[in-house]
Amino acid sequence: MYPKYTHHIMEALGNQPPTNFERRERPLDPGPKPPGPKDDDAGPRQPETGSPSRDNLLKRMRKVDPKQAERYRQRTGE
């Protein structure tokens, strides 16, 4: 059983529990490569095109209300 704060979030996650609760050691990503010729299987995943995908991300960006930031107001926090 999942604890009371979390059983509903597990439902949202499709009731797929983590496969392992123990801390796992695994190799860390070696990070970006220095400037130079790129390999296909390593290094940063730079977008393949020079601009965001037209099908998805640009569509998402166009949906943003131009006045969204103008209306956004918060109180000062820490």
């Binding site: 597990m10 801390r23 220095p34 991300l57 960006m61 943003v64 930031a69 918060q74 820490e78």
Partner: protein, 500 residues
């Protein structure tokens, strides 16, 4: 032994209301994560933001007047102080509550970069899950949450990174070694911002900055956090044995969306603290650090040089290279995290100088700049166009259907530091190497035996004499695991507390 954690205050809006009450909305959001009646659990005793690391206690904070005004207003609400705070201690050892009108998620204490990234991302999932639950109640999708640090109208809220350090390290040693690093780490940890602001002052559009927070830094050192914000906050709340430890509470940083940026921010800061402890940090005498942090933030070309007291000048990149060089000499052939930090710090500084497009999806300000620039070209917009400021805001939306960073992530164009499985685990359990796992287990297993919880202690309900589980010295991972096993095997928490 390393221990760190991140507190993130989220921006919150109700899109279906012209003016929503942020106290009520933040409270309702936190409560939407609960499935039963709220019971006050958090122990506020021992929290004193007036204690200063420099060895004194201030009589008042600059925010006290404003806080009193809010308290007067809040007294008229139909909720108690505790109900408004709605402090939750989660089974993963995290704290989730309403802090100063912002929902805040404080990660459990972590000891590795993998743990801190998984728990930072777990916080995003938890808070968005709460928003989904709240929206279901409202019958709309009007509640939206932003993991950023400004409303672009002069109101900032924080993302604080915290580090446990030895009290044998004098605070004076920290200031000289840390401030040059802190004002320049934004070149890889800045979240990016379109426009210039100041505390509760007007917004000047059109200038792209590295950092969301630099505009709000007003002094070098201060115990304040809401006004007169310092580059190095001097609050002295160790949440541990005060004789042995300090907690470095940094309020200068931005909330990052990129996992890589968070890892590099926390990792390099930890290494610089290790350097200072060894007396090996480079020394820079900056003429004006407060002006310097703004100068560096407002120069995406990274060419701007800031003055030293000697009359010479130096760039942010060169200051970072000096810290990197000292760390490379001091921590050769070290542990896994240190090796990762050294490798990626060096690579990132090189990419910033020679090929920063390689850092899209890894460094937030570069990713955001690329998105905005691409969109501006596509739509033929000027940098002053308010639509771009709105895109800046939506970059930080943690709604998976709206957030621009999360959209990029869904397209596989961001670097992932941790796996989805690690995030799921982090939602449910604290890091097994730290006392957070004990806190989480106690909350899961013995909630009805608990009177109150603080970071370093758990008070038990008792009809006879007060009992508490004191974790103020519990930092050895082997001791954590032993105690976790005892509690897991126990029928009652009191059985363990009485013998621990």
């Amino acid at each position: 032994m390393r221990l760190f954690g991140i507190e993130t205050e989220y921006g919150i809006i109700r899109e279906d209301q012209e003016q929503s009450d942020p106290v009520v909305e933040s409270m309702e959001l936190v409560r939407a994560y609960m499935t039963e009646k709220f019971e006050q659990t958090w122990d506020y005793q021992g929290e004193d933001p007036h204690e200063d690391q420099r060895g004194f206690r201030v009589n008042g904070l600059q925010q006290d007047v404003e806080e009193e005004q809010f308290a007067t207003l809040d007294a008229n609400r139909p909720f108690s102080f505790y109900e408004m705070k709605s402090d939750l201690v989660l089974p993963n050892g995290a704290r989730f509550y309403n802090d100063h009108t912002h929902p805040e998620y404080s990660t459990p204490e972590c000891s590795t970069l993998h743990e801190i990234i998984a728990h930072d991302r777990a916080g995003e999932r938890i808070i968005q899950h709460a928003a989904n639950a709240r929206n279901a109640t409202l019958g709309s999708s009007s509640v939206q949450l932003y993991k950023n640090n400004t409303d672009l109208h002069g109101h900032s809220y924080g993302c604080h990174d915290n580090y446990l350090i030895s009290r044998t390290l004098h605070f004076d040693q920290l200031t000289g070694g840390l401030i040059p690093f802190l004002i320049t780490r934004q070149i890889f940890s800045g979240a990016g911002k379109l426009g210039i602001e100041a505390q509760e002052k007007s917004y000047q559009p059109g200038v792209f900055q590295l950092s969301q927070r630099a505009d709000f830094m007003e002094t070098e050192l201060s115990v304040d956090t809401m006004h007169n914000r310092p580059i190095l906050n001097t609050r002295d709340e160790p949440h541990a044995n005060r004789q042995k430890y300090r907690r470095l509470h940094l309020i200068v940083g931005d909330a990052n969306m990129c996992e890589f940026a968070t890892a590099l921010k926390v990792g390099t800061t930890q290494l610089v603290l290790d350097l200072i402890a060894k007396g090996a940090a480079p020394q820079f005498e900056l003429a004006d650090p407060v002006a310097g942090i703004k100068t560096i933030s407002r120069d995406p070309d990274l060419k701007a040089a800031i003055p030293l007291k000697s009359g010479k000048t130096i760039t942010g990149l060169d200051i970072q290279k000096a810290y990197l060089s000292a760390a490379q000499h001091t921590f050769e052939e070290s542990d896994t995290d240190t090796n990762w930090i050294l490798t990626n710090w060096e690579m990132t500084l090189a990419q910033l100088e020679h090929n920063r497009a390689e850092l899209i999806g890894r460094i937030d300000w570069i990713t955001k700049h690329w998105l905005l620039e691409s969109f501006a070209q596509e739509e033929r917009l000027e940098w002053t166009d308010p639509w771009l400021a709105s895109l800046d805001l939506e970059y930080h939306n943690v709604n998976t259907e709206r957030g621009l960073y999360l959209g990029l992530e869904q397209e596989g164009k961001t670097h992932r530091f941790c796996t989805e499985d690690e995030i799921r685990t982090a939602i449910l359990q604290g890091p097994t190497t730290t006392r957070a796992s004990i806190r989480g287990l106690c909350v899961k297993k013995f909630r009805h035996e608990i009177q109150s919880v603080q970071w370093e202690r758990i008070h038990l309900k008792s009809l006879t004499h007060p009992q508490q589980l004191d974790m103020s010295d519990l930092f050895d991972p082997a001791h954590v695991r032993q105690l976790w096993q005892k509690i897991d095997n126990a029928k009652h928490l009191a059985d363990v507390v009485s013998i621990s």
